[in-house]
């Protein structure tokens, strides 16, 4: 259930920019370009985009795994943009992570118990038995038996490992968890189990999530708000249902239309609609909107000028020069994307 229990803001990201050096003689690659957002206690913010959109880099910047080029990150009112390892250590009590790959995120040569206990190394006052009890409790909470504590990651399936990774994040009672594609590597039936577990835990512990994923269907399911990224920039953002059912940015629409739906009739209709659009696929980074080279509606201005974020009547914000004339006037009402058997 998506319920927010408090409005207390825990994370504030302002104009975050991350650049990766590309070797001598070449301009650095701008993976994240002036991205701004907040996350409140108990809220899930979904970050969606394709590979190269910068979504994972944002999560890694918040975690201190990459260092931002510009902008600021505040956590609980404290600036952590360039926090050192000492500050990070204290921060780890409130800020945790769940990674995509359940196989590489657990050290294969350490027992589950040893992996979980590492999160509590900052609490020397706890005895070995207390740490062990805590680990067993948390494992029970994520649906694994206590006996898991003495086993190795190789004894668990992908879905179970992801539960262990969730348990590791919960060892310290965090306030915000960065979920970096936590279900992308899982099979559909297991994916649903893990998504359910994440939303139960959110209600129980009033957790904030930054939920990074490439699949808008998955993101919508768990998120209160969604940010759609392309080329490191925010294309569209707003309440999850509004972004999902009334997308205004051409990229958001393309993303939604591209994901095939498990319904042959609906899928055939979507295909026909897509075929009516001109196919544009170009390369290169334009100076204006990053989507301009692939956008079927791009005008010269899109290539030269970066659009500003504008608030729309449906409560979302969109960065597109043409969002008004593509969506409103006069014949085109906002496309309703609700599908037959939903709701």
């Amino acid at each position: 259930m998506k319920t927010m229990n408090s409005d207390e803001q825990i994370l504030a990201v302002r104009e975050l920019t991350v650049e990766y050096p590309q070797g001598r003689g070449r301009d650095p690659l701008r993976a994240v370009d002036k991205v701004t957002f907040d996350i409140a206690q108990g809220e899930t913010l979904g970050l969606v985009g394709e590979s190269g959109s910068g979504k994972s880099t944002i999560g890694r910047a918040i975690l201190g795994l990459v260092s931002p080029t510009a902008g600021s990150i505040e956590f609980g009112g404290q600036d952590i943009t360039r926090a050192g390892s000492r500050e990070r250590r204290a921060l780890s009590q409130d800020l945790q992570v769940i990674f995509q790959d359940p196989y590489s995120s657990l050290n294969p040569s350490r027992t589950i118990g040893a992996t979980l206990a590492e999160s509590l190394r900052l609490h020397p006052e706890l005895s070995k038995d207390q740490v062990r009890d805590r680990a067993a409790d948390v494992l029970g909470r994520v649906g694994l038996p206590r006996t898991a504590i003495d086993r190795f990651p190789s004894n668990f399936s992908g879905g179970q490992r992801q539960r262990i990774a969730i348990a590791r994040a919960l060892m310290v009672e965090p306030r915000l968890v960065i979920c970096d594609e936590p279900v992308s590597a899982l099979d559909l039936s297991v994916q649903a189990q893990v998504l359910n577990l994440l939303s139960e835990l959110q209600r129980e512990f009033n957790l904030g999530y930054l939920f990074v994923a490439h699949d808008l269907d998955v993101v919508r399911h768990l998120s209160h708000r969604i940010i759609v990224l392309f080329g490191g920039q925010v294309m569209e953002e707003g309440p999850a249902e509004a972004v999902y059912s009334k997308p205004l940015h051409p990229y958001t629409k393309a993303l939604l239309d591209a994901a095939p739906v498990p319904d042959p009739v609906l899928q055939a209709a979507r295909r026909t609609r897509r075929e009516q659009l001109p196919i544009v696929s170009g390369a290169g980074q334009p100076a204006g909107c990053p989507f301009a080279t692939r956008c079927p509606h791009a005008l010269p201005v899109c290539h030269s000028e970066r659009p500003t974020m504008e608030v729309t009547p449906v409560g979302t914000s969109v960065a597109c020069h043409r969002w008004r004339d593509l969506n409103s006037v006069p014949t085109l009402e906002l496309p309703d994307r609700k599908i037959s058997h939903a709701r």
Binding site: S92, D101, R110, E118, R163, E200, P264
Partner: protein
């Protein structure tokens, strides 16, 4: 409402205590490793004990000169040297200097190589580049020559020589440690440890070092062998261990000097040196095998046992059915594993008509890829076809010899896989690789073949075909690479394309384009497609008929329209229900409780039974057959008819 997640069963693969002790135990299970360790241990004891037990040997200038140059006898087991000294005694005492030399070199190598290698690999950046530059620099020095330079200053000084040797060869270990650290550093559990605020030194000690012990030992054993050869070589040149001190190398030199009178003398020290080097080398090999166990490639792909059994027997009469291009019947594939053979696919049957697109859909481990690979005789890795038939164009593919199935691959049936980036040879240009495929699968040669390559590149809608032909695979994006892979598959104008998760590694917008391409190619060429996928959305988009697999079995086959409208198996139903697309924005997703049963530990009766919400006692009884429940609609469920109508 409080929902407690259900306990999931732990699939116990191996009862294990600790990864490190497992490593040692696996090593000690190899006779080769044990023999090497025993030999080296005995040698170490000899090196320590013999100078104490035989205190006079080291300074003995001459023995009984009348008794010199004797062969082996009961008095002198290994004979006597040119000065009448006992060869065995000198061999035993001489081992001390040899081992000290090796030990000194190894200590220096480890002190320099391991910390610097860890530092370079873990920290990276400029420090890494600088250290690598220095390492390359030092490695490109002729070690032996510099050691001799040092010895011309520190005359006869073993330690100085071996320290120099250690410094000069430390970069070899440095490079190994660094190379092993780099992939470990990228592991997400390292990132998780960083996020947890653990100190770098703790992370390196507890997470990195234990993972790279294997390669370190391998490299150390090789370096020890090198140091031994150098030490004996220097002694051979009498640059160290001058007379009368006994040394293995010196004894060889002694033997060479009297080779014309007594050819025996070079054998004992030569064998001692060779055995020790061999022990070190074999130990290194054993350690490497143990640390890479499980993923090392098999020497050769094995053809199916079925083919061997049937060899000689005339091919069974095949019913030629115009409606069926590929007919799979009762295909059973098993893989050799530590616990015996496990069946990855069992009694799989389905058909693909000419120009038809059939989807094989299921979760990981359901046997869908195994089935696809078995059709082309590409199982490898200990997999073999136990039973079944795969009829294609009037012949059973599973009975063909390797040579005959080669004729089918590419020209009759082509194959594309999930990872376009690793499907192309990185060392050759795109145009060259396509031309090779054209020449292998068609009679076209020379300019005709080149023209055909251009045609293929245009067919797959690459923006600039001429330019693309000159590119190397690493210069392509994932979507472009998949287009090139498809172009190669089309080279022989196959009648069937097996596409194994062709879009899984691509972004959704790229996926749309590739699916569109496959659809248009099929329209133009009338090619049938067998599409292996886990994504029901992809199935809905492109397939005519669907085969749903679960735990190695086909559980349902149906037309796409039927499957989505009236799924006839509880698994298919549950799979459709748990798709987040079909769900309300808020609320719990319907899930399939539990997890897929392990291969080799299948429940009796229906394999989906433990996770099924509609089961009855009838489901536990024996093997469930595929039931006809509609026009070309089959389901492996006792209650299929009721399920379908819900």
């Amino acid at each position: 409402m409080t929902l407690v997640a259900p306990f999931t069963e732990i699939t116990d693969v191996s009862g294990s205590s600790s990864a490190d002790s497992r490593f040692v135990r696996r090593l000690l299970r190899r006779p080769q490793a044990v023999a090497c360790l025993v030999y080296l241990a005995v040698l170490a004891v000899v090196a320590i004990a013999s100078p104490i037990l035989l205190p006079d040997v080291a300074a003995e200038r001459a023995g009984d000169l009348a008794d010199s140059l004797q062969g082996p006898s009961s008095q002198h087991w290994l004979g006597t040297d040119s000065l009448g000294r006992d060869v065995l005694q000198r061999l035993l005492v001489g081992s001390q200097d040899t081992l000290i030399g090796v030990g000194v070199a190894l200590v220096v190598v480890m002190l320099l190589g391991i910390p610097l290698g860890l530092l370079a690999g873990y920290v990276g950046g400029r420090l890494d580049r600088t250290l690598c530059w220095i390492a390359d620099l030092v490695l490109s020095l002729p070690a032996m020559v510099l050691v001799i330079v040092v010895l011309s200053v520190f005359s006869q000084n073993l330690v100085a020589a071996m320290v120099t040797m250690g410094v000069l060869t430390a970069p070899a270990l440095f490079r190994v440690v660094r190379a092993a650290t780099l992939p470990v550093r990228e592991q997400l559990y390292i990132a998780a440890a960083v996020v947890a605020g653990l100190s770098p030194s703790y992370i390196v000690r507890r997470h990195v070092l234990p993972r790279i012990v294997g390669p370190i030992i391998v490299q150390l054993s090789l370096l020890a062998a090198g140091a031994l050869l150098l030490q004996t070589g220097l002694a051979f040149l009498s640059l160290i261990a001058g007379p009368p001190a006994p040394s293995w190398g010196g004894m060889v030199a002694d033997g060479v000097g009297v080779m014309f009178q007594q050819g025996w003398l070079i054998w004992p020290p030569g064998i001692a040196i060779a055995l020790t080097v061999l022990a070190l080398g074999l130990l290194g090999d054993a350690v490497r095998d143990v640390s890479t166990e499980g993923w090392s490639p098999k020497r050769s792909p094995s053809r199916s046992t079925k083919q061997r059994e049937k060899k000689g027997a005339h091919a069974p009469a095949v019913s030629v059915d115009d409606d069926v291009l590929l007919g799979i019947r009762n295909l059973t594939v098993s893989f050799a594993s530590s616990g015996g053979n496990v069946r990855a696919a069992e009694r799989v049957s389905f058909e693909v008509g000419p120009g038809e697109t059939v989807g094989v859909v299921g979760e990981s481990g359901c046997g869908k890829t195994t089935t696809a690979l078995a059709i082309l005789g590409m199982l490898g890795h200990g997999g073999h076809v136990e039973d079944g038939e795969a009829h294609f164009a009037g012949q059973d593919l599973l009975t063909l010899s390797e040579r005959d199935i080669q004729e089918v691959r590419g020209s009759e049936i082509a194959y594309i896989s999930q990872e376009p980036m690793v499907s192309l040879d990185p060392a050759f240009r795109i145009g060259w690789q396509l031309e090779e495929a054209v020449r292998a699968n068609t009679p076209l040669r020379g300019a005709d073949a080149k023209r055909r390559v251009q045609e293929l590149l245009e067919q797959v809608q690459l923006p600039d075909p001429k330019r693309a032909a000159r590119m190397y695979p690493h210069e392509l994006s994932g979507g472009m690479a998949q287009r090139v892979v498809i172009a190669r598959a089309l080279a022989g104008e196959p009648r069937l394309l097996i596409a194994d998760e062709p879009t899984t590694a691509l972004d959704v917008t790229m996926q749309v384009e590739i699916l569109e391409l496959l659809r248009s190619l099929q329209r133009e060429h009338g090619m049938a497609i067998l599409l292996v996928t886990h994504d029901l959305g992809v199935v809905a988009d492109i397939c005519d008929r669907v085969v749903v697999m679960y735990a190695g079995e086909v559980v349902e086959t149906a037309s796409v329209a039927d499957l989505f409208a009236h799924p006839g198996h509880p698994y298919t139903q549950a799979l459709l229900a748990s798709n987040p697309h079909n769900q309300h924005a808020a609320g719990m997703l319907p899930t399939i409780p539990g997890s897929v049963p392990e291969l080799g530990a299948m429940p009796p009766g229906c394999r989906f039974l433990p996770r099924c919400t509609q089961s009855t006692p009838a489901c536990e009884l024996g093997t469930i057959p595929l039931l006809q429940i509609g026009e070309r609609h089959e389901s492996r469920c006792v209650h299929a008819r009721e399920v379908r109508s819900t």
